[in-house]
């Protein structure tokens, strides 16, 4: 069985495309793919930065066609995505294994070292296990990816400093405020990105928050989840008066937070510093606010820039992480080869046993030996066969643990004519 990974991420597709195939609940799609005749196993990983489908298949070509069609037509997009192939990448076997490990270890993230992707990968795996679409191959692959991610996290300093956009926000907040306890946050929007960012701030001790959204029902759902109050956008001026941190990520073609709005509240805000994170594209907050005293405005590019600066400083750590991934990938490849070696060794031994038994029967039938001597004859020939096979079997088992072991397996199959159906009928 082969492993095939097809997907798109922040490097290959813009957010307008990525968001159209973002999947919140993978269960129905996993069920659909699981019953495809060309797909044996399937796991679906979907985050705001990537959507990837990983399958175990006996026919890579057929699975590839199926997955391309699936992404273009069956994903949650309102209409089929034209030219989806332009955004897709694919990896097979060893490359797919390495890629998944890089993803789980956050080396393939928009911001290297961000911790969320490890949890998202585990969630994707758990969903596939629950849906019954994850078999032994992908299961082993994911377990190894988690091991690699854990090693990267503990053996390198990649995750030591905060790096995700959300965490850069938390870090900046701690440069402005001594503590987030007692601080009030205002969230404008109720999407996943803002939820993640706010969870990071919550984790840092933020005590009070208000969610303002165009659709108040969505604000209520998020407020309930995070423990805050829900409001409509019309309440922004009053909410702004009390806010120490504003986090905005809402779809809009004009700023929802303007200089005029802030100016109107600045008196009541009493010169307290206000930290504004604008994650929206187009921007949600009037850039002029950045010029005001005590207003610290950061948009997504500013946060990304800081995060990337941190990424640059951790180049050496990234190289070490890549080494770890290569080690784990080779180990996993060895396991795959060994998995393929088992049937070869079994078939070879069965073939030799069949020949040995047949030759004993033939010798007895030709009266060369007395039937009473069969047991002795059996022991002698078995001993001879075992001695002859010991070295090649040991070599095959040992080499199968390595990536190059496939060549030995191929050689054994040719030399012992394992794949030749007629060989067993040949006579001396």
């Amino acid at each position: 069985m082969k492993v095939l990974l097809v997907g798109m991420n922040h490097n290959t597709a813009p957010v307008e495309v990525r968001e159209r195939i973002f999947i919140d609940d993978p269960a129905p799609l996993l069920q659909k793919l699981k019953h495809d005749p060309d797909i044996e196993e399937v796991v679906l990983l979907s985050t705001c930065n990537r959507t990837e489908i990983l399958v175990g298949t006996r026919s890579v070509d057929a699975a590839r066609v199926r997955l391309h069609s699936f992404i273009a037509n069956d994903m949650p997009s309102e209409r089929p995505i034209q030219g989806v192939e332009d955004y897709l990448y694919e990896y097979i076997d060893g490359e797919a294994m390495g890629h998944l490990m890089r993803v789980a270890s956050s080396l393939d993230s928009m911001v290297v070292g961000e911790p969320q992707i490890a949890g998202q990968s585990k969630d994707a795996y758990a969903a596939a296990v629950e849906a019954g679409s994850c078999g032994p191959i992908l299961s082993r692959l994911f377990q190894t990816a988690f091991t690699a991610a854990k090693r990267v996290r503990t053996e390198t300093q990649i995750a030591e400093r905060p790096v995700s956009v959300a965490r850069v926000g938390v870090s900046l907040a701690s440069q402005i405020f001594e503590s987030l306890e007692g601080k009030q946050a205002l969230m404008i929007g109720a999407g996943e990105m803002i939820e993640l960012a706010m969870k990071s701030l919550r984790g840092a001790g933020l005590s009070s928050l208000a969610v303002a959204n165009r659709t108040v029902a969505n604000a209520e759902a998020l407020a309930e989840d995070l423990g805050g109050s829900a409001h409509g956008l019309d309440e922004l001026p009053e909410l702004l008066e009390r806010a120490d941190i504003v986090l905005s990520c809402i779809g809009t073609d004009r700023p929802v937070l303007t200089r005029e709005q802030y100016d109107a509240t600045v008196e009541r805000h009493r010169n307290r510093p206000i930290f504004v994170i604008d994650l929206g594209v187009p921007r949600n907050v009037d850039p002029e606010l950045a010029e005001l005293d005590n207003v610290f405005l950061y948009d997504i590019d500013d946060l990304g820039e800081i995060a990337r600066a941190n990424t640059g400083r951790r180049k050496r750590e990234t190289e070490r992480a890549e080494q770890i991934i290569e080690e784990e990938r080779q180990r996993l490849e060895g396991w795959f080869v060994a998995l393929r070696a088992a049937p070869t060794i079994k078939t070879l031994r069965a073939r030799v046993e069949e020949i040995r038994n047949r030759e004993i029967d033939r010798a007895i039938q030709r009266s060369k030996f007395d039937p009473s001597e069969r047991e002795e004859l059996d022991a002698i020939t078995r001993s001879i066969v075992n001695k002859i096979l010991h070295a090649p079997m040991t070599t095959l088992k040992r080499e199968a643990e390595r990536e190059e072991g496939l060549a030995y397996l191929e050689a054994a199959r040719v030399l012992f004519a394992i794949d030749d159906e007629d060989e067993s009928d040949e006579d001396d």
Partner: protein
């Protein structure tokens, strides 16, 4: 003995500075804690120096300028340590320690040659004046140093030039709190320093005012701080402006009290 202890305190302050600089350069947060430890040790040795002033022959008066500067440095160190125990403010060592080192070191050089006493017949007012005024100057000095850190960090945050640091600088909020507390404690102290100075003059010259340079500049500095206090707490001055004012105010105060005293 006193000079030796003063030099030892200066050496410990210098060590605290070097260790703190290493903590940020390497970066190693643990070194910052070691640096705080050195600062505490320096303050203890420094205090021991003052306790031996009366044993010198002749006894060293606190009104002697080197001794007064040394005292102000000690107050600044102790006040900084108290603040550090409350908020993340260890970066202040980078500014407090060199000043404490310089003040203590030069005080040690001068301590063997005290200036002729000018306080005879004036009771305890000179000491009260130096104690209160010196403490106020030290506290407002810490406010100025925190103001420098505030301005640096504020500019970095505004210009989005921040990179993640393993050893973090103080938050703007903490630095602003230092500004508030220092101003609230320091201003009454320099006010009492000015009042006790006038009482000292009165006991010697039968007048609260002789029109000396020191008196004129000290009064001007006091008025500057009175304006800063009003701007900060009555007019709701922003934290950035308060930080800039704290730096400018302290420079003027230092010039008025110390530089003018040396020139005079």
């Amino acid at each position: 003995m006193i000079t030796m202890l003063d030099q030892l305190a200066a050496a410990i302050y210098l060590t605290a500075l070097l260790v703190a600089a290493l903590a940020y350069a390497l970066p190693r947060p643990v070194l910052l804690r070691v640096s705080v430890g050195f600062l505490v040790l320096g303050a203890v040795v420094h205090l021991a120096t003052f306790s031996l002033f009366h044993t010198a022959d002749p006894p060293i008066p606190l009104t002697d300028l080197p001794a007064a500067i040394s005292f102000m440095c000690w107050i600044a160190v102790v006040f900084s340590l108290i603040l550090m125990s409350r908020v993340r403010l260890e970066a202040l060592i980078l500014l407090v320690a060199p000043i404490a080192f310089l003040g203590t070191f030069f005080a040690a050089l001068q301590m063997g040659n005290p200036a002729p006493a000018t306080t005879q017949g004036s009771g305890s007012w000179p000491h009260v004046h130096v104690l209160l005024g010196g403490a106020g100057l030290a506290l407002l000095g810490v406010s100025g140093l925190a103001g420098i850190l505030f301005v640096i960090e504020y500019r970095n945050l505004k210009n989005r030039r921040l990179v993640e640091r393993t050893v973090r600088l103080p938050s703007l909020e903490a630095l602003d709190q230092v500004n508030r507390v220092s101003l609230l404690l320091g201003f009454p102290l320099i006010t009492l320093g000015v009042v006790s100075g006038m009482l000292w003059l009165s006991s010697v010259h039968d007048s609260f005012w002789t029109g000396s340079l020191h008196e004129t500049f000290s009064l001007m500095a006091w008025m500057v701080y009175a304006i800063l206090l009003g701007a900060r707490f009555a007019l709701g001055q922003s934290a950035r402006r308060a930080a800039v004012s704290a730096v400018a105010g302290f420079l003027f105060l230092f010039f008025s009290v110390v530089v003018v005293e040396v020139i005079a």
